[in-house]
Amino acid sequence: MARKRLMHAIHEAFVEEMERDERVVIFGEDVEISLFGDTAGLADRFGQMRVRNTPICENVMTGMAAGAAAAGYRPVCHLMFGNFIYTGFDAIANQVSKLRYMTAGQIKLPLVYFAVYGGGRSASAQHSDVMYPALMNLGGIKVAVPGTPADAKGLLKSAIRDDSPVVFLITGGRTGAAGEVPDGEHLVPLGEADIKHEGTDVTLVAMSGMVAPALVAAQELAKEGVSVELVDPRCVVPLDEDAILRSVCKTGRLVIVDEARDMCSAASHISAIAADKAFESLKAPIRRVTVPDVAIPYAPVLEKHILPNKDTIAEAVRAVVNYRKQ
């Protein structure tokens, strides 16, 4: 174990997978110089054929990833900020999410779309979105949303090795966060949740950038005598329903934290699953801590007002725990 920054852990995953398999290639805008540090130095190490700057052309980049993958490579298409997934959305939605299915499984699409997303940096509406709900709804695309350096490394390595398309998303606000990362080969399977804090009173599901504030909330609530079980699904597709339902059946209460806008969010989807499959266990209504259905504003006061934080999370947990049927 060693403490590493999130981007450092991701960088390690890239290096290890590129060394392991020469079919792994990375392309994207300014990946050679690297804005986030995740791909820094890779061009020097692996050559510019394998680590390649593209022009600004997300529309063709996302399609190129599909073509290169279909033709036997394992491309990582680096899209910089998550909002640029929208500029490249056509190939993702119309080709990549459907090709394996439409061709009855004839082709493999071992590709990764990598992007940094989310709010909290006054980067305004076009650089702060949470786009996994839109991706979840496509079907056919796995979506990894790690919240810690160890999970980021382990999931990225699995994503690169996976034969299906994976979108790998990191929150912009947490690229510098540090955490323990296991030494040596460290793989986290796609679609396996992790219990970040054990508890018995309430299940708190949080993913990606919301794991850290949820953990702080859980620790603070413990002092008040509220025992929180923090479940981090780590992927929203495939979603580890079993782990979530197991915990809900144990605690009888569920709060979901999601930085996405509320409508059709991961939170609302998880909430629907729990209402459907854990109805008998529930002692209180399910609560979602999400972002209202607005664009992300620039001014810090405005942005802070709408993003979940440890206090709004704790408040929702208390409300659920204190719920009494009228």
């Binding site: 540090g37 593209t54 529309n59 980067a123 305004s124 209202p292 607005v294 006061v301």
Partner: protein, 329 residues
């Protein structure tokens, strides 16, 4: 692609002084941004256009409030040149309630629809469709209005540029596609991300195209005039590639995350020697077109406008937190 004609100076002195004033105002605004960014007064990123002011100035001088522009992430100059109030933009970049977008947008989304400023844009080439649609509206209205889209050399790689050239040419839309070629797409030099010349691309769509020295105020102004006249007369779009350079980084805090340089000091210095602002000033003074005292007076005036804008921005309150929920529909 055609090359511009170089004509003698026959612009009236007051017009020349006005162009100088606009450039100076943009420069002063941008220089204040450097200071405020360093002091930690700006919540979000700023992309400055120092060195590129002649392009916005030369184009927008031919436009009025009923014409449209769509801008880029490097949009402060366009906003000011199109007649936007620097104080309202300053307050916006400070994230305050008196900002032109009430603190909702920041630098990358500063817009003033009352002035035909459709906004800066956080999406590279995001303004292209907007401006093309505005050009369609101008054509429908039949009042001789025009629409302009500014985009960078990096943006030129986006497919939407070709799409816009095609539809604008087919429909003879009153559109100016103005590429500010500053040699870099973020940290990638022009020739690593663009094949061929941008101004050559118009020909494929039968769009008259011209490559000009974007640091030459007078050439810029004349080129724009021809294109705007064409558009107003219903003769269709023009593609202008203005060659220029940004003196500052891609984004103000880039030194904090870049681990190595992407351009040489010599290159930056060589371009600074071609700085459009002192160059225009020299041209005006040495050609005895505008007396230097007049230009000094303009300098004093723009400096005070920017000082007042900064005071206005600083003294403006933050928005009410609950306002985050307003304006969605």
């Amino acid at each position: 692609m055609t090359k511009p004609r170089t004509e003698g100076a026959n612009l009236p002195a007051d017009k020349l002084a006005e162009l100088y004033r606009t450039m100076r105002l943009i420069r002063d605004f941008e220089e204040s941004m450097i200071k405020f960014q360093k002091a930690g007064e700006l919540p979000g990123p700023v992309h400055l256009c120092i060195g590129q002011e002649a392009v916005a100035t030369g184009i927008c001088d031919h436009l009025d409030d009923t014409d449209y522009i769509a801008s880029t992430h490097r949009g402060h100059g366009h906003f000011i040149a199109k007649g936007g109030d620097p104080a309202l933009m300053m307050a916006e970049v400070f994230g305050r309630v008196d900002g032109i977008c009430q603190g909702k947008g920041g630098s990358m989304h500063a817009a003033d629809f009352s002035k035909g400023i459709l906004g800066a844009n956080g999406i590279v080439a995001g303004g292209v469709g907007l401006a093309t649609g505005a050009a369609y509206a101008c054509q429908l209205a039949g009042k001789g209005q025009v629409s302009v889209v500014f985009f960078g050399d990096g943006a030129a790689a986006q497919g939407v540029i070709s799409e816009a050239l095609n539809v604008a040419s087919l429909w003879k839309l009153p559109l100016l596609l103005v590429c500010e070629n500053n040699g870099y797409s973020e940290f990638s030099p022009y020739n690593t991300v663009n094949a061929g010349e941008i101004a050559d691309r118009g020909a494929a769509f039968k769009v008259p195209s011209i490559q000009v020295d974007g640091n030459d105020m007078v050439t810029m102004w004349r080129t724009a005039r021809t294109a705007v006249e064409r558009a107003r007369a219903g003769e269709g779009p023009t593609l202008i590639e203005a060659q220029t350079y940004r003196h500052r980084g891609h984004v103000e805090y880039e030194d904090t995350f870049l681990t190595k340089p992407y351009r040489s000091e010599e290159e930056v210095e060589a371009w600074k020697a071609k700085d459009p602002l002192p160059r225009f000033r020299d041209y005006l003074v040495s050609g005895e077109l505008v007396p230097s005292e007049d230009l000094d007076a303009i300098d004093a005036d723009t400096a005070s406008i920017i000082r007042n804008a900064a005071d206005f921005a600083r003294n403006s309150p933050w928005p009410e937190p609950g306002d985050a929920l307003k304006h969605m529909f």
